[in-house]
C-alpha cells in the first residue's frame, strides 16, 4: 500500500463564532474510494468543499499528494468535483460542458478532442455530445457531470451526494456505474452521502461523521460488525440496530439486562460491567429470530413488511419496539404474539452515558 494521498490534520472550520468541524484527522490512501457519511448537518459536505477549495480552512491543514493545499486555489488542486445538482452549464452542449475546463486551462485543441472522446467513450456519452442539458434525463446529466470531472484527469475525484436527485432504480444503477468506473480508473475518490447503503456498498473506507467529528472510520464491514459508538451502530444498517437501554443484573449466575416491564435480556457471559450499571444493548435485526412459544421474550407483532427477499417485522416488547429481519417469508401477522430469541453472541454493548462501545472478555 502506498503512503496516504490525502491527509487532514487537526482540521477546523468555523462560520462566525460557530465551529462546525472540530479537529478532523484522517488519512486517505491513493486509489481508495472513501465515503463520508453522516446525517444532515454533520459537516461532511463542508469537509468536501474545503478539500475542493470552495470553503476556506479555519485552522489545521489539508494535503493532497504531499502538498499542503490550504492556500492553493481550487482550480490548481488537481481535483474535480461532481455536484449534487450536477451544475452543468445549461447554455452549453454536452461537448462544450466537457470542453470548458480544458479551454480555461488553454489545452491544445487536439489534446482536448482526444480527452473529450475518451471521457465520452467511458461514460457512453457519444450520442449525447451535441445535446443541451435540458434535453437529457437525470441519469444522463449525472454521467455528463462525471464526464466533466473525468476530462480534467484529476488526481482526486470529489462527489457531493451525486445520486440524491435520482429515482431509486437509477440510483442503484449509477451506484454500480460509479463503483465500476473507480475500479477501472483507480482514481482516488472522496464521496459524500447521507445514504448508509451507498456508504456500505461503494466504499473501501467508510468515515462516519456526526456533529463535526469523525465517529469512526474503517472498512464498511468492520464498522458494521464492530461499531465503536452507539451512533455508528444506529446509523449503519437498515432497518437500524435495536438499541435497548437497561440495567445490568444477574439471574442466578448468568448476567442479564433488566429492561423494565419484568423483561430480562440475556447478556454475554464475559461482560465486565457490575450489576446496577446502566448500559445499552445493541442487536442487529437479523440477529433476532422468532422461536417456539415460550422460548424467548414475549412480544406482539405491530407491523409486517414483506420485501420479497426478506421480511421485516416490528414488534412491541413491553415499552420497547423490536426490529426483526428474516431471510425467510415468515407467516406472521399484525397482532400475533410471538417469542423473540436474541443471538447473544452477536450483541453489542454500549455505555449508556458516553455511547462508547463496551468490551467483552
Amino acid at each position: 500500500m502506498s503512503a496516504s494521498f490525502v491527509e487532514f490534520h487537526d482540521l477546523r472550520k468555523s462560520f462566525g463564532a460557530v465551529e462546525v468541524l472540530h479537529g478532523i484527522e484522517l488519512a486517505v490512501q491513493q486509489h481508495a474510494f472513501v465515503v463520508l457519511v453522516g446525517p444532515s448537518g454533520c459537516g461532511k459536505s463542508t469537509l468536501l468543499r474545503m478539500i475542493a477549495g470552495l470553503e476556506s480552512i479555519t485552522s489545521g491543514f489539508i494535503s493532497i499528494g504531499g502538498r499542503v493545499v490550504n492556500r492553493i486555489p481550487a482550480k490548481d488542486r488537481g481535483i474535480a468535483m461532481v455536484f449534487q445538482s450536477y451544475a452543468l452549464y445549461p447554455h452549453m452542449t454536452v461537448r462544450e460542458n466537457l470542453a470548458f475546463s480544458l479551454e480555461m486551462a488553454k489545452i491544445k485543441k487536439d489534446v482536448m478532442k482526444a480527452r473529450i472522446e475518451r471521457a465520452a467513450g467511458i461514460l457512453h456519452l457519444e450520442p449525447l455530445l451535441e445535446r443541451f442539458p435540458a434535453q437529457l434525463s437525470g441519469g444522463q446529466r449525472q454521467r455528463v457531470a462525471m464526464g466533466r470531472a473525468l476530462v480534467r484527469e484529476p488526481e482526486l475525484f470529489l462527489f457531493d451526494e451525486p445520486l440524491s436527485n435520482l429515482d431509486a432504480k437509477l440510483r442503484v444503477e449509477m451506484r454500480v456505474e460509479i463503483k465500476a468506473l473507480h475500479q477501472r480508473l483507480e482514481s482516488t475518490t472522496i464521496y459524500v452521502t447521507h445514504d448508509q447503503v451507498e456508504a456500505m456498498t461503494m466504499a473501501d473506507l467508510v468515515v462516519v461523521m456526526n456533529d463535526g467529528r469523525i465517529e469512526q472510520s474503517g472498512p464498511p464491514l468492520d464498522l458494521y460488525d464492530n461499531p465503536a459508538t452507539m451512533f455508528v451502530a444506529g446509523f449503519l444498517g437498515s432497518p437500524a440496530m435495536n438499541l435497548i437501554k437497561g440495567t445490568v443484573a444477574t439471574d442466578g449466575s448468568a448476567p442479564v439486562l433488566d429492561v423494565g416491564d419484568g423483561l430480562q435480556l440475556p447478556l454475554p457471559a464475559g461482560i465486565r460491567e457490575k450489576p446496577g450499571a446502566e448500559i445499552v444493548y445493541g442487536l442487529r435485526p437479523e440477529h433476532v429470530s422468532i422461536g417456539p412459544p415460550g422460548s424467548g421474550l414475549p412480544a406482539t407483532i405491530t407491523l409486517v413488511e414483506a420485501a420479497g427477499w426478506e421480511t421485516h417485522l416490528y414488534a412491541d416488547m413491553g415499552q420497547h419496539v423490536a426490529r426483526i429481519v428474516s431471510a425467510e417469508r415468515l407467516n406472521v401477522a399484525h397482532g400475533d404474539h410471538v417469542s423473540l430469541v436474541p443471538d447473544v453472541s452477536c450483541a453489542h454493548l454500549f455505555d449508556a452515558t458516553t455511547g462508547a462501545r463496551l468490551s467483552i472478555d
Binding site: 475542493a52 482550480k75 449534487q84 451544475a87 452549464y89 445549461p90 486551462a105 435540458a134
Partner: protein, 310 residues
C-alpha cells in the same frame, strides 16, 4: 342502495360541466385584462394611424390625404435632424444604460450587508417623475451655483455652461434619461442573476474560470432573456422620453436635444397639426416595435437552453 358499477364509471352532466369550466377558467380570467389592453392600446394605435392619413383642422374635421403627411414629414429637414439626434440619443442611452444596469445589478447581487435596504434604495429614481428628475438635474448642472460646477470650481477647474452648450446639454440629457431608466433595468437583470444556480459558479471556479471569463461565458449567456427584456425597456424609454427633455432643455439649446418625441409635441400640440404629429407617433411606434422584435428574436427566443431536440 342501487349504486351500480356503471353509475360510478360515468360522470354526471353536472360533473362534466364543472370539468369544462375548469378547463376554460384560465382563458375566461385572461379576457378582461386582454380586452383592456387591446382596447386602450389598440384604440390609440388605430386612431393614431387614422389621424396620420388625414388632415384634421382645428374643428376636428378630417379630410383623407393618404400619405401626404408622411411625405411632408420625411422631407422636413427639422425631422431629419431630430431623427438623427434621437438615434444618437437612444444608442448612447442604451450603451450607457445597460452597462450601468449590469454593474448595479452585479453590485446589488454581491452586496452582503443591508441587502434589502440597498435594493430598495436603488429603485428610488424609478419612482421619481421624469419632470422632477429633470428639475433635479437642472439644479445639479446649473452654470452658476450648480453642484457640478461648484465641485469643478473648488478644484480650480473651468465651469462650463452645461445646459447652454449643445453637446454638453445632450450629454446631460442622456445622463438624466439613464438615471431615470436604469433602476428598473437593474431590477430585471438582478432577477436574472438570482435565477443562476450558485453551484454553476462553483463548478466554473473549479473549472478554472476567472471572474471576467465567468461573467462573459457563464453569467451573460444565462441572463440573456432578461438582458433582452432590459434592452426592450431601455430602448423604449429612450425613444419615448419626453418629460425629462422638456423640463431639462425644452429641446434646446439650438434644438440640440430636440428628439422626435419633443418635435412631435411641438407639431401636434403647439402647431396643432395632428396629422403630421401622428406620423411621428407612427415612426416612434415602428422603431420601438422593430427593435423589440429584434431583441426578442436574439435574446429571448434564441436562448440555447430552450432549444428542442436536435
Amino acid at each position: 342502495m342501487s349504486t351500480t358499477r356503471h353509475d360510478l364509471d360515468v360522470l354526471t352532466a353536472g360533473e362534466r360541466a364543472s370539468e369544462f369550466v375548469k378547463l376554460l377558467a384560465p382563458y375566461i380570467l385572461v379576457i378582461p385584462g386582454l380586452a383592456f389592453v387591446l382596447g386602450v392600446l389598440g384604440y390609440a394605435v388605430v386612431g393614431g394611424v387614422g389621424l396620420s392619413l388625414n388632415e384634421t383642422d382645428m374643428f376636428l374635421n378630417q379630410t383623407f390625404v393618404g400619405l401626404k403627411n408622411y411625405v411632408s414629414i420625411f422631407e422636413d429637414p427639422r425631422f431629419q435632424s431630430s431623427l438623427w439626434k434621437t438615434i444618437v440619443f437612444v444608442v448612447s442611452s442604451i450603451a450607457l444604460g445597460i452597462v450601468m444596469s449590469m454593474v448595479f445589478a452585479l453590485t446589488l447581487y454581491h452586496v452582503g450587508f443591508g441587502r434589502r435596504f440597498f435594493r430598495g434604495l436603488s429603485l428610488v429614481p424609478y419612482f421619481v417623475s421624469g419632470i422632477a428628475a429633470a428639475v433635479m438635474f437642472r439644479f445639479i448642472f446649473t452654470t452658476s451655483g450648480g453642484f457640478v460646477n461648484y465641485i469643478l470650481e473648488s478644484f480650480g477647474l473651468p465651469a462650463p455652461s452645461w445646459l447652454g452648450d449643445p453637446i454638453l446639454a445632450f450629454i446631460v440629457a442622456v445622463l438624466a434619461n439613464c438615471w431615470f431608466m436604469v433602476p428598473f433595468a437593474t431590477l430585471i437583470l438582478l432577477g436574472g442573476l438570482q435565477t443562476i444556480d450558485r453551484d454553476i459558479y462553483e463548478a466554473a471556479k473549479l473549472d478554472g474560470a476567472t471572474g471576467l471569463k465567468t461573467f462573459f461565458r457563464i453569467t451573460l449567456p444565462l441572463i440573456k432573456p432578461m438582458m433582452g427584456v432590459s434592452l426592450i425597456w431601455v430602448s423604449y424609454i429612450s425613444f419615448s422620453t419626453f418629460d425629462i427633455i422638456l423640463a431639462l432643455t425644452a429641446g434646446g439649446p439650438l434644438r440640440a436635444t430636440e428628439l422626435i418625441s419633443v418635435y412631435m409635441y411641438e407639431i401636434a400640440f403647439l402647431q396643432l397639426d395632428f396629422g403630421q404629429g401622428s406620423v411621428l407617433m407612427v415612426v416612434l411606434l415602428t422603431f420601438n416595435t422593430v427593435l423589440s422584435l429584434v431583441y426578442l428574436k436574439f435574446f429571448v427566443l434564441n436562448d440555447r437552453r430552450y432549444k428542442t431536440a436536435t
